[in-house]
C-alpha cells in the first residue's frame, strides 16, 4: 500500500533542505521549489487507481527511504564511466554523479558561437535572467507528481542553449551516473534545452547506474524548440538491476520546429518514462522512436503524450519492446488533436515481442481528436516470435537458438537503425548482438 507516510517523508526532507543552504538561492528558484513541493503534497504518489498509472505499481519507490545524494561517492574514474556508458569518449560531455555536476569527469570542447553547454548551477550564475524565465516553464508539476518532486528538490543538472541561427555540429553528451554507497540514494537531475529560432543540435542524455546498490533517479528534461529549429534528442537508460528510474521529457515545439526523440530503455528494476510533446506551432513535427528491453523482473512503462495544437503538424511515433523472463512492459500512446489542429498527420505504432510465457505487456493507444480534417492512425501488436520466420531461417540450416537471436536482434535493430549518431548506433548494435547472442 502506498500511504501518506511516503509523501510525508519527502515533505520532511524538503523542510530540512529548505532550511539549510537553499537560503542562499535566488528567490525565483526557491519559489519554483516551493511550487513543486506544494503540488507534490497535493498529488502524492499515484496509485493503480490513477488511470495514467494503472499498470505501474510505485510501491517499491514509495516504500523506500532514500538519502539525498551528496555527490561524494566518486570512487570511479572518468574512463570507467565512459566505457560503461555508450557515449563517444572523444566528444564534449557533462558528467553528473548522483545528480551533482562532476567537473573532473566531464570533458570540454571548443563550441561554435552561440552554443552554451553548462551545468545548471553555472548557467544560473552566467545568465540568471534566462534561467529564471525558462526553468519549469515547459515541464509542469501540476499534473505530474514526479516533475513536482524534481522541482521541489531541484539542485543541479545541465543546460544546453543554442542561439538563434546557430548550430552545434557535434553531439553534446550529458551523462547522469547513479551510484549508491552505503544507503539508497535519490537524485533529481534537471536538463534544460533551449533552441533559438532556426538553430540545430544533437543532444544525448545517458543515464547509467554503477555498482549494485539501490537508488532512485528522478530526471526531468525540458526542451524549448524555437521556430524552425531542429533537434535530435537521444535518451539512453542503463540503470543498474536495482535502480528505480522515473523520467519526464517535456518538449514545446514552436512553428516549423522539428524534434526527433530517440528513447532506449535497457536497465532498471522499475522504470517509468513520461514523454510529453506539445506541437504548439503550425507545421511543427516530431518523431518519437523508442526501444525498451526488459528481462527478469524488470518493469518498464513508457507513457507518451503528443498534443497537436496548431494546423499542419506531424507526429510519427514508433515504440518497440522485447520482454523476456517475467518482465512487464507498458506502453501508453496518447495523441490529442485540438480543434484548431486541422491537417494534422499523426501516426503511432507500438510493437511488442514476448520471448517468454511469463512476460507481460499492456499497450494502450489513446486518440482524442477534436478537429475534423486530420490523418491519424495507430496500431499495436503483442506477439511471440513469428513462427513462419523462425521456420524459414531453420529451413536454411540456421539453428533454433541462432534463429531466435537473429529475429530478436532484427526486431530491435529496426529502431536503432533510425539513429543518426554513428558511434551511438554502433555501440547499441554491439549491445544488441551481445544481449541476443547473435554470432
Amino acid at each position: 500500500m502506498i500511504t501518506t507516510e511516503s509523501t510525508e517523508r519527502y515533505l520532511a526532507a524538503y523542510k530540512q533542505a529548505s532550511s539549510g543552504a537553499a537560503k542562499d538561492n535566488p528567490a525565483w528558484l526557491n519559489e519554483l521549489r516551493e511550487a513543486g513541493i506544494t503540488s507534490f503534497e497535493a498529488l502524492g504518489f499515484p496509485t493503480l487507481k490513477n488511470e495514467d498509472w494503472k499498470y505501474t505499481n510505485l510501491e517499491p519507490i514509495a516504500a523506500q527511504s532514500f538519502a539525498r545524494a551528496n555527490g561524494e561517492a566518486k570512487r570511479v574514474s572518468a574512463s570507467e564511466i565512459v566505457a560503461r556508458s555508450m557515449i563517444d569518449p572523444a566528444e564534449l560531455r557533462l558528467v553528473f554523479v548522483n545528480g551533482i555536476y562532476a567537473e573532473e569527469f566531464s570533458q570540454t570542447a571548443t563550441l561554435e558561437p552561440g552554443v552554451v553547454v553548462k551545468s545548471l548551477g553555472d548557467f544560473i550564475k552566467a545568465d540568471e535572467a534566462t534561467a529564471s524565465s525558462t526553468l519549469g516553464r515547459y515541464a509542469s508539476g501540476q499534473r505530474q507528481p514526479f516533475v513536482a518532486l524534481n522541482s521541489a528538490f531541484l539542485e543541479d543538472g545541465a543546460v544546453v542553449s543554442i542561439g538563434a541561427g546557430c548550430r552545434a555540429d557535434r553531439p553534446i553528451y550529458l551523462l547522469f551516473v547513479s551510484m549508491a554507497a552505503n544507503q539508497p540514494i535519490v537524485s533529481h537531475p534537471r536538463t534544460l534545452i533551449l533552441l533559438g529560432a532556426g538553430s540545430e543540435a544533437k543532444i544525448v542524455e545517458s543515464y547509467l547506474g554503477l555498482d549494485g546498490g539501490g537508488y532512485f533517479c528522478n530526471a526531468v528534461t525540458e526542451i524549448a524548440g524555437g521556430p524552425d529549429s531542429v533537434i535530435e534528442h537521444y535518451r539512453l537508460q542503463q540503470e543498474n538491476d536495482s535502480g528505480f528510474h522515473v523520467s519526464a521529457l517535456a518538449a514545446n515545439l514552436e512553428r516549423g520546429c522539428h524534434l526527433t526523440a530517440h528513447a532506449v530503455s535497457l536497465g532498471g528494476a522499475l522504470v517509468r518514462n513520461n514523454v510529453r510533446v506539445t506541437l504548439s506551432g503550425e507545421g511543427a513535427g516530431c518523431v518519437l522512436n523508442g526501444l525498451y528491453l526488459a528481462d527478469g523482473k524488470q518493469h518498464v512503462d513508457n507513457f507518451t503524450e503528443i498534443e497537436h495544437v496548431k494546423p499542419r503538424a506531424t507526429s510519427l511515433e514508433l515504440y518497440k519492446g522485447i520482454l523476456g523472463g517475467s518482465a512487464h512492459g507498458v506502453f501508453n500512446g496518447r495523441i490529442v488533436v485540438h480543434k484548431d489542429a486541422q491537417k494534422t498527420d499523426a501516426r503511432q505504432t507500438n510493437k511488442n515481442l514476448l520471448l517468454s510465457a511469463n512476460a507481460v505487456v499492456n499497450t494502450k493507444p489513446q486518440l482524442e481528436i477534436y478537429a475534423d480534417d486530420v490523418k491519424c492512425s495507430h496500431g499495436s501488436s503483442i506477439g511471440q516470435m513469428d513462427g513462419d520466420a523462425l521456420f524459414y531461417l531453420r529451413s536454411r540450416g540456421i539453428g533454433m537458438e541462432d534463429a531466435r537471436s537473429l529475429l530478436s536482434f532484427a526486431f530491435a535493430s529496426d529502431v536503432v537503425g533510425r539513429m543518426k549518431i554513428d558511434c551511438l548506433r554502433q555501440r547499441l548494435d554491439d549491445y544488441l548482438v551481445a544481449r541476443f547472442g547473435r554470432r
Binding site: A389, F391, Y392, G397, I398, G399, L406, A410
Partner: protein, 252 residues
C-alpha cells in the same frame, strides 16, 4: 536418394497424406502435380520438417537416414532444400547476412571451413548471375518489399548458395509472369546435376515447359494415383484434373 514409403500425415486432425510412395534417385527431376487440396504442399512441408504436420504413418529415408527424425535445420544441413511457395519477409535481417549465416551453418555441419566476408561476397556475386539478380537486392532486408518474382529468384539464389543434394520446389511458378518464370526456370536448370535430385511441386503444366522433368506423378486425395514420364503432363493438361476422378474410380 529419397525413399518415401506409405507416408501418412495429418493437419489439424484431418488426414491429408494417405499413403504416399515415391522413389527419387540421384540426378533425377520429378514433378508432382495435382489439383488444389490434393496434398502437394503438405508433402513439401512434411519433408522440410514444418511444425503442425503430424506424421501418422510410413517412413522417409534420405541418403539412408531417417529424414523425419531430423529437425528442420538438420535436414537443411544434410542437404535438403525447400524453395517456399510464399517466401517469408523478415525485416531487419539483410539478405546477405542471412545467406552467410545459413551457408556457414551448413558448411560447418559438412566439416568445411566457414567463409569470411570476402570469400562469401565472391561466391554470391557468382550465384546471383544465375538468377539475374541485382546486388542491391541482397543489401535489403530479407524478402521485405520484394516483388513476387524477386522473392522466387531469391529462393533459387539460396538454393544455389546452399548447394543441396535434394531440392524441393513448392509452386515455384506461382505468381510469376513469363519473364520471371523464364529466369527462375533458367536458374533451376543450371543447377541440375548428376548428384542432385529435384522434386517440383506444381499445379500447372506451364512450369514443365521450362523445366523438363524425368518423371511425373499425379497426386490426388493424398495418394499418387498415376506416374509416368513428361507426356503425362500433356495428357493431364488436355484432359484436366477431372479426368483423375475416373482414373481413381478404376483403381478402387
Amino acid at each position: 536418394m529419397l525413399d518415401i514409403n506409405d507416408l501418412r500425415a495429418k493437419v489439424g486432425g484431418k488426414e491429408i497424406l494417405r499413403g504416399i510412395n515415391l522413389h527419387v534417385g540421384a540426378g533425377e527431376v520429378h514433378a508432382i502435380m495435382g489439383p488444389n487440396g490434393s496434398g502437394k504442399s503438405t508433402l513439401a512441408h512434411v519433408l522440410s520438417g514444418r511444425e503442425n504436420y503430424e506424421v501418422t504413418g510410413g517412413s522417409v529415408t534420405y541418403l539412408g537416414k531417417d529424414l523425419l527424425a531430423m529437425s528442420p535445420e538438420m535436414r537443411a544441413r544434410e542437404g535438403v532444400f525447400l524453395a517456399f511457395q510464399y517466401p517469408v519477409e523478415i525485416p531487419g535481417v539483410s539478405t546477405t547476412y542471412f545467406l552467410k549465416a545459413a551457408l556457414n551453418a551448413v558448411r560447418k555441419h559438412r566439416g568445411l571451413e566457414e567463409l569470411d566476408a570476402m570469400e562469401f561476397l565472391t561466391l554470391i556475386k557468382d550465384k546471383m548471375k544465375l538468377v539475374e539478380m541485382d546486388q542491391a537486392l541482397t543489401n535489403r532486408a530479407l524478402n521485405e518489399g520484394f516483388s513476387g518474382g524477386e522473392k522466387k529468384r531469391n529462393e533459387i539464389l539460396q538454393m544455389a548458395v546452399l548447394d543441396p543434394a535434394l531440392a524441393l520446389l513448392d509452386e515455384t511458378d506461382s505468381g510469376l509472369d513469363i519473364d520471371a518464370l523464364r529466369i527462375v526456370a533458367g536458374g533451376v536448370n543450371a543447377l541440375r546435376r548428376e548428384d542432385r535430385a529435384m522434386v517440383l511441386i506444381t499445379h500447372y503444366q506451364r512450369l514443365l515447359d521450362y523445366i523438363v522433368p524425368d518423371f511425373i506423378h499425379v497426386l490426388y486425395d493424398g495418394r499418387i494415383v498415376k506416374s509416368g514420364t513428361k507426356e503425362l503432363a500433356l495428357e493431364l493438361e488436355s484432359k484436366g484434373y477431372d479426368w483423375l476422378k475416373s482414373v481413381v474410380a478404376q483403381v478402387h
